[in-house]
Symmetry: D2
Subunit: 350 residues, 4 copies
């Protein structure tokens, strides 16, 4: 029925962002997945690992191979950090377009990257050409990019919430707080005791409160937004649910006489052409379930008791707008397709 004219490959498809790419792309009108790689599970049928894919794909994992991948129109990296940078030079050299869901090319300052990831970056020369994959901010740059470094999950929710306010000088740059919470799929599909249902279920806690790798990514973006170096205190939390992120953002108004209506109007105008940002009515409370499995970011603004602190509530699905959906949104832009292609299904509720 549809003409699936573009071929894509997925490197490292055994994780949750991999199966989310498979789920979304199986319903995409213009793209078909031709290759899914895994070193550890080569030979296994994808549908044997991910039973929701039974009947939707006959693919088996294969060893990653540059020659095969370069026959794709787009290659996704759904890998942990530290993998894509090793294969990137050859792929870029071969002219393939790449959407990297990992952290390897997100930070422009390689020294900062090496400090937080505690290793040498193997191809710093490619960092300058990597376009940061947050389409609401970089839509045009993404269209033309060969290498897109998709924004991380927390950074997406935090930046989309703060950006219009900092870009328009509504908030002071000091004392910015990003209190964020994620479902457990954010920790990936890895055997860890602390992510067992018996451990993470029916509980709630912070983690990484003294410093989390997403902080420099967030600060890089917010500094661009504000036009000056900008710091944020970022504290992530783990919630006993599977999908979803909420960032609860706090900032001090630069001009306490600015009206709520003016702030709301400015915010709506900023995202007027962004189909995946839903600016809700002032004083709303978005729920993470309202975006489960969808690429939407829903945002609402509050000014508690009319005081000087502005609160921004920003929710996404960490695997969709926070990872694989955003990657497809970037791909759509790169291929000149409708930005929303394959991403229009409503969230699953209840």
């Amino acid at each position: 029925m549809s003409t699936k004219q573009y071929k894509v490959g997925i490197v490292g498809a055994t994780g949750y962002t991999g199966v989310e790419l498979m789920r979304l792309l199986s319903a995409h009108p213009h793209v078909s997945v031709e290759i899914a790689t895994s070193r550890s599970d080569a030979g296994t049928a994808l549908a044997d690992m991910f039973p929701n894919l039974r009947g939707h794909t006959d693919l088996r994992f294969v060893e990653p191979d540059i020659a095969t991948l370069t026959q794709c129109d787009i290659v996704f990296f759904a890998t942990p950090h530290n993998v894509s940078m090793k294969m990137m030079p050859e792929l870029i050299q071969a002219g393939v377009r790449v959407v990297d869901l990992s952290a390897d090319f997100r930070l422009k300052d390689v020294a900062v990257w090496e400090e937080w990831y505690n290793e040498k970056h193997v191809c710093p020369e490619l960092i300058p050409q990597a376009v940061y994959g947050l389409p609401e901010i970089n839509r045009n740059e993404i269209k033309a990019a060969q290498l897109v470094a998709c924004a991380g999950c927390y950074p997406t929710s935090v930046q989309l919430g703060f950006w219009p306010l900092l870009a328009n000088g509504v908030l002071k740059e000091e004392a910015l707080i990003a209190n964020a919470a994620t479902g457990v799929s954010g920790a990936g599909r890895q055997a860890k005791i602390n992510m067992l249902l018996a451990e993470a279920g029916d509980s709630y806690s912070s983690y990484g409160a003294s410093g989390h790798r997403h902080t420099p990514e967030i600060e890089q973006g917010l500094s661009i937004a504000a036009g000056k170096p900008t710091q944020v205190t970022f504290v992530p939390h783990l919630v006993p649910m599977i999908r979803g992120i909420q960032a609860t953002l706090y900032g001090q108004l630069a001009d306490s006489t600015m009206s709520n209506e003016a702030i709301q109007k400015m915010f709506e105008a900023f995202y007027a052409d962004s189909p995946f940002v839903d600016v809700m009515p002032w004083g709303s409370h978005p729920q993470t379930r309202s975006v489960k499995g969808s690429n939407m970011c829903r945002i609402a603004l509050h000014r508690p008791r009319g005081r000087n602190t502005l609160v921004v509530l920003s929710v996404i699905d960490n695997l969709t707008k926070g990872a694989s959906g955003q990657a497809i949104q970037c791909m759509n832009l790169m291929l000149g397709l409708d930005e929303q292609a394959g991403l229009t299904a409503p969230a699953l509720l209840p």
Copy 2:
């Protein structure tokens, strides 16, 4: 892009089967929802009640009105029992085609219906023309029907698991056990203390163990399958999850010399032309999450320790194949569309 040539109305769209119809139909290529009714919430925007629908529909609930509904090609009843039978005579008279998700027209014996639902049926004369909406069994009758009474959630999972075995005489008709478990969305979107997260969370229990309304519906079907009166002991359980049903079925083999391979082959053959039944390899363990949000029923067979008891594991999403997805599958057949139209997205996993 797509030509949405058919108009549908939904009566009683404020429950979970209502929002599931909206979710699925918003992605259906040939159908658009024109009317959604609610007596209690007339005037409210659907998207204000169900935040996943923000951006997907501008509809507001309206009072149910026969004149308006009769302009639809198909009318769905997503109501509790006891509602559709009151409006049905007028709709049928007006020539509208109806898919009823409620229990009002499922039982052929009106006396049994009245016993279990504890009231008079108001239009028993329409019962004979109601076609039981289980497409894997009644596909052709559904195509021609004006009134389809969709199979219930538990009855779907139980009947799809037992039917081939009884129709082929593999199991004795005695001592059939259907131990089933559902997520809490099966209880509907109603304010009940026992369905609070604080009550139903982190717990598990049976309910209705002495007798549940789905028993006569199951026995009606299994008696047809077996060609003789057939009883089943049906015990439902409540699981602290949102969506999903598993029926764990137990029966005694009629011929203990029959091989597992023969049983499996017979089972696969029975569903060879049914795109929404996935007969998994012998000895598999389907998970309810593998069908979350999808219209698939996944079934696997076991014969514990090679003895004489056969175990059938059958999973569905109670809101999709157990309700709204099945209703759309029936609608597709009635309208002469591809049986799978609008129902091909993979389950949401994780």
Copy 3:
């Protein structure tokens, strides 16, 4: 075996704080529950409503009656706000000692109470003698009190986290943020659609972000701690778990040269004689599950990236230290018992 020499009554024992009082007091060495009242459920056995109490009590709910209650040594109010103030004058007059778990006597400024609870207070003359029930702060006043107004759940977690820092001038009083999250039992045992497992499960959101009734209670306490009027931005969140609160607190250091060690030492010293506050090592991440069913508050401090913002993580069980456990702790003090009597069992983990 034990000598249960004190008699207690519970007014409004049909909610979660009621059953938690019953659970804890059934294991208390010196106290027996003689009366549990409920207007709506008089005549019902407590064990029929709360199956964990089967075998632990033969009590039935009775209508509240002043004459009977005045024969108790202590009366607990486990009611919503607006109930205890109506019975309080007679009880106080009769000389009974009362521990009120509700909000009726927590706020010293009756005008503030009336603004937030939107009704007239019926006995403002009793407010001055009510002692705020936060034993770590008011231990001696509680010992002598006739009427104790137990601290609320969020206010307990927030005040215990901020108090030592404000009392010692470590934090500035400006830009204090209390981002808090609770399990659903905090909403009480009431039939509300938004608290269904199908609604609140597998999701996360804020609520009351523009203003929540616990804010004035928190600010009343923090102003005492700081010795000057102090405001806080308080945003609560709902977590899909049953029990537990975490307050994640943010403040700016008054003196950025103060060492982490000095802050930690000061904090530990403040709670040195408080058996129910566990000051964890600097940089720890307490989990709500570590206090499930226990009266402990566990607190840890962070200073993200060595900057000027201090982060305090404070967890309690909202039904225990946040309500019924704290009420018993107050009762122990009032009766001259060991502060820990009946409250020493470890949390349930996993």
Copy 4:
């Protein structure tokens, strides 16, 4: 206050049955834990692994050592199968009394054990003296035993439900079905992908349906109860909760004229002297949450639609009555203490 006159040791205290022993014994009036062993975590403080134990114990894990263990009055094995049998000969030789929570000494037929556990048993000569630790059945034998092999979690729930019915000839021995479901803590505290919250959460499935290691243990017991070889079809399920087991048992009445009242009366009489079995009124539905953290087994009987099939619903906490609570109950009997000592706290609800 209490005199903790008995010393106990726990071998393999890093799992969930280990921490549950610690939790329960910390509140036991007559026993103190002196040793907790772990080969992998020797040197770690128990409270660092299990944060609920902070403030309740200063113990650190030590390497298991026979000389030290033999100074205890009782040694618990909270290990996986295959560990206790290696240390048992020396401990028995030294005269220590042992409560083994593992499967090593549960099966009387060593050939069956070796078949299911797929290895040689290293001390079959000790099997005859091992007393099966199900106090409701073997109370007197346990009192006198040196080695108690505690009943498994599923076997406890299934046997307590079936035993009175088989011992009294109420049920036929054919076509017995035990459909059981457990929370995830039953899988232990081990890093397994399929037990992640992101995998096991919001889902339900069977496992081991073709044959599970608890089947021979159950059949050994039921054969004793019935006085003849008795088979059962046992299918376990995984529920997205942390603690709890329900066995839903199905059997055919031997005499269909027997009244429900007679069955109920017989059942109650059987457990009249067993403080941890709560026979609920006929037709009740016990919930696993009603026994969370408690040593109770709650059982209710149904006869669906008055037919010939009897349904027994039996719930326990898998870590308490299904493991550590039962072990302490056995210990109490062995030491001549009150059978309920340390086990009287109500379940945690909600």
